[in-house]
């Protein structure tokens, strides 16, 4: 039985919509039936037709209204929000209060206050909310999380996360590149640029894998071409409990394809993972041979095994990682129908709020010239 999916946005920036569409479809558990896919009714209808959707809408409000009136057996069960950042919360909240489950692209919104409001709506409405920090869907990331939670590294001492990209090295936002346009426009992306776009992935990865909470941070940002938002970020971190960290991300690093990549050091061992070699997790222990754990092998933890579709020797990649989010999201929705709450092995609204607190604090630190700043409370 398939879940009926709708999407808001995704037609403007071809890539994001396409990613969600394919990721959701990967395990044949989702049927994509309705959408309000672009910023004008005309383009929305064109996009819906191009994708062969059963129901194309001109605007997301129209879609929300119409879907609500459909019989339960026809209407969408969840909506994917793939708009520019400034619309994440308005759309997510509207669908959530109407009882639709929500898969929202990252970051959750453009302010911590917005994020908290989503948390409240989610809690009150009882819907399932997923934030698509897709990189944490990789099997070997789950293995790292498992090993750290199990104490295999001992107390954590230092965490290094980096997300290097190069696609904004030239001012392509002035040359008609839609994705670059809104990402460098504070009205659409919020006050944060690279920080929100991929720095958020790096922070979420760091938290997911280590469980550490940032206590204070010191941020230093750069931007080229007179951009109004950052395109390169360097942040020092102090975690609760005493560990330290470095988080960096950039969209102006010549020739870099992307991350996130992490190295995590503890009192007894260390783990290293790179998104471009996602099937390997390197485990170092003092005085021991370096161990490379590989996806698909029998020694991995259950969550990692469940996140794997192919045996070793058959490389999995980005889509499978993204699909793992949708797979677990679908499980949670189906359980919720039955009144059951299962463990949600995907990023949640609370994760989104934590990330917005990080973003706002980093913006504040950088604006103050790189002052150490306590991270805001994301819970209240």
């Amino acid at each position: 039985m398939r879940l009926r999916m709708g999407m808001v946005g995704g037609g403007l920036d071809a890539m994001a919509g396409e990613l969600h569409r394919r990721a959701a479809a990967l395990d044949s558990r989702v049927e994509f039936v309705a959408g309000a896919l672009s910023s004008t009714p005309e383009r929305s209808h064109t996009a819906a037709k191009a994708w062969g959707l059963a129901r194309g809408y001109g605007t997301w409000r129209e879609m929300l209204e119409a879907e609500q009136k459909l019989p339960a057996a026809e209407r969408i069960e969840f909506v994917t929000v793939a708009t520019p950042n400034h619309l994440h919360v308005p759309v997510s909240a509207a669908f959530a209060v109407s009882g639709f489950h929500v898969a929202c692209d990252k970051p959750i919104g453009i302010s911590l206050e917005e994020a908290r409001s989503v948390c409240r709506v989610v809690e009150k409405s009882g819907i399932v909310f997923m934030l698509t920090h897709n990189y944490t869907g990789y099997p070997m990331v789950k293995q790292a999380r498992h090993m750290i939670a199990g104490g295999e590294l001992g107390d954590l001492l230092k965490v290094v996360v980096d997300y290097p990209q190069g696609w904004l090295l030239q001012p392509i936002e002035k040359q008609g590149h839609k994705g670059a346009e809104w990402r460098t426009d504070p009205l659409k992306s919020g006050a944060a640029g690279c920080l929100a776009d991929i720095g958020s992935h790096a922070q979420h990865m760091m938290h997911t894998v280590t469980g550490l909470e940032i206590e204070e941070l010191c941020a230093d940002f750069g931007h080229l071409h007179g951009r109004k938002v950052d395109d390169d970020i360097s942040i020092l971190l102090r975690f609760r409990g005493g560990a330290r960290g470095m988080l960096s991300a950039s969209q102006v690093m010549a020739g870099e394809e992307g991350g996130p990549n992490f190295r995590i050091y503890g009192a007894r061992g260390a783990l290293e993972w790179k998104q471009l070699e996602p099937e390997s997790l390197v485990f170092r222990q003092p005085g021991q041979p370096v161990r490379t754990l590989r996806r698909g092998e029998p020694y991995l933890c259950d969550a990692t095994k469940r996140a794997s579709r192919l045996p070793p020797g058959h490389p999995e990649g980005y889509y499978e990682a993204f699909g793992n989010l949708y797979r677990n999201f679908a499980d949670a929705i189906i359980a919720r129908r039955k009144g059951v709450r299962v463990e949600e092995d995907f990023p949640t609204a609370v994760d989104g709020a934590r990330t917005m607190a990080f973003i706002e604090t980093a913006l504040e630190s950088n604006a103050a010239g790189g002052r150490w700043t306590k991270v805001k409370d994301h819970k209240h």
Copy 2:
């Protein structure tokens, strides 16, 4: 508009069927509607139900008969043959003569004579026939083919292809492993074991990328645990035109995940590719920095670009490569409907015959103690 797909086999060996199902679905151009999925009617029906197929059949003959009687707008348009090897030709040929297009798992059959008969049926019936040597679907393999065809390596001198696996190191065929059972049973796999199973991939890769035709070969096989078929092969090659080669494959190499991997040397340069790092193609030229070409980049050839779904930094893998075969297969079917023949950028029945000639020659060479043996003519 989606193509309706049926499948024969694929339920016995969970992996092969699953691979075809997902690969075919990857671009949402195929709808999987019917199947005779296993070797007994009971298990076939169970499998069809498990996969939610519209029409489950007890046997492939039943399926063929029933589908033919359906209206054109309902019946399957192509069948995927995912049975053990000995059934490839009977099933493929029966569907082909009835006008169904065929996607057949490799190798094409269990004898060169069988393979030739398929070629004749394909030619006569006018259907589209695809042999799923999926590894040649990788984008960077297409790039290697393009560069060699374009003369960037100069005259070829030496070709090295290797496909190392380790999953048959223990006699798991005696412990209930279905895939191992039929692959080590000459009645089902044919006289060749590893040679047919993955050696065929290595040979097909070698031919696809270089265009070279083997003139004669010298084969030396091993087998463990009293197996009746080979599980480790080493073959020296002499190509028409003077180039030389080494082809090896094994299913008893401890800890190896899989290939195929190749290194190709010419008078002016060399290319290296490894299946476990499929997004990179290494290009060496004397006196030049080593160049690593990466999937998704603008400098790649058109066939490579068409075979790519994601920008750089978003790893693609096995499914995407397999899906590229089905995508091009679908294009060919749709063109064929319109009476047009497009370039078939996927393995064909002729490729299958070439591989069977290779397999039979290698078996003969090994049986003669490793004697150099002329490769049989695969065309007549």
Copy 3:
């Protein structure tokens, strides 16, 4: 004709002395004849005997006095200072004012004031002074320096240097490890621990390769086991001209062997180098295949070629890099004899002062809780 070499220190910490001894001997241009090798006369004489030196002395003062009295044709021409840090300047300065050339281990001393005094002595005495930041002796580091100086990266935007080690993860200084003892004792190493020991290498590497001068920095240090000096450092950098950087080093990263490693990003390209794979330099340019330059190849710059002893395919390593410093040092000494000053392709006293300014500033920044701090002027 060989240069006669003396050494002070090097017997206490077996490794440093051995490194200098072998590096200096590598090209057979140096003859090691005299030494005051340890902190007590007894151990000094024992060490001198063990190494078969012509003249062993009990203390460095004794050595200085005695060598001065020898005929010019017998006495040492240069001294290598391989003591703990606090003795670097007293020994270096004493030999320098007496006209001996000096090869001093890094860092140059334990304060900027000390470093400046060495610069003055060097300038006044006319001797050749080399600071043994040996990692900049690697051929491919010189190649990076050449390419950046030649503008191949365009304007520099971001510099990332990291030097990860793990040997001080356990408190081995309390278990009799001599090298760990003095490195964690502020009386011997100065106020900086990891910062002075390997952070200095990272900073020197960064400056040598890019030519950038740090304008201000923000430092955050950690230390385990109640150590009085840092054992883990994270530093954000702002360079004159607008580039930004991250510099990190650690001696408590489980299982890490060592660096330094760098990634340097400019407006047109990027370079990456790792000390554990020293023969490769990775050059990325947008829209181009990744180029890996390899030691020994004809396309490299002259300084890189001169720094190479073996053709490609014959790995060179740490000793060769270290030996390159001594080779160029020997050239400079021989030229100086003839009254000629040649380009000094090795770290100088001025480099040492720059590094001490960096160290003092970083200590100050960290002590102030991680405040951005202007780097002190190392010249006056």
Copy 4:
């Protein structure tokens, strides 16, 4: 106390002499005092002067005669033979019968009969004879040997050794390249080209690490540019006891720097090593994380530790590996003086004879069109 070393040859082909000179000097246990370094008296004297030797001779016969007459405390104790292959045996044997120890470049000679004669002379004279297959001096090669001898791989099944080079892709022997000239001239190199030059390294590596003896082989050679000797070899191997192998080497593989590289598969595990990454040994076991053993670590065997000069994080390379041969050779000579015979952890005359049997058999197999041929007995 240093051993006095002489050299015959090494001036013609600058590289070989230089390699021996540096490798022998690496541990300061050898003093290079005399030589007959080239093929004419004039060039020999010039070379001896250039290297600052105490005693330069015009010919090796002159050198042998003169050194014999010197007092024991002055005359050379061993001679390094670095001539083209055809002179290896005449020179080695002459010095050996006169009581000088011999370090001879590989291969031991140009025929099995020659090799056997050397074995007899060595046995009779009681001298220490070392054949400089330097690649087996790498620490991690010794570790592989240790693990296999200790049964960590179980029974061996398949061995793959490859030595790819590209320096003879162009006919540089016609353009004045001395090293290429004699290596492609059967009068100087013997009937084997690449086979003798680097194929011998590959075979020696294979035997040293595995202990396996080849029972029969099947060889297929290529050669470009009308060369009279092979420049590319592919050989299938059957070992006593049932294991199989593939050995290949080439000097015409575009852009390849060199090997040898090996992969060794057993019933319980596998080892992989590459000469260009000599500090790592990869150990695969079914169902286990891949283990990468690193030089310098505490878990390595004694012979590996003894072969290491630097701690982890300080790359060692080619010279250190070569130096390990000379170090153990020196130990053996010093022990022999005292009438003691120690384990000789370096290639011996018997190894040389085994390799010549391999070479002659491979030549014969290839000449017969690639016929499986029993390997000759190297002992009698």
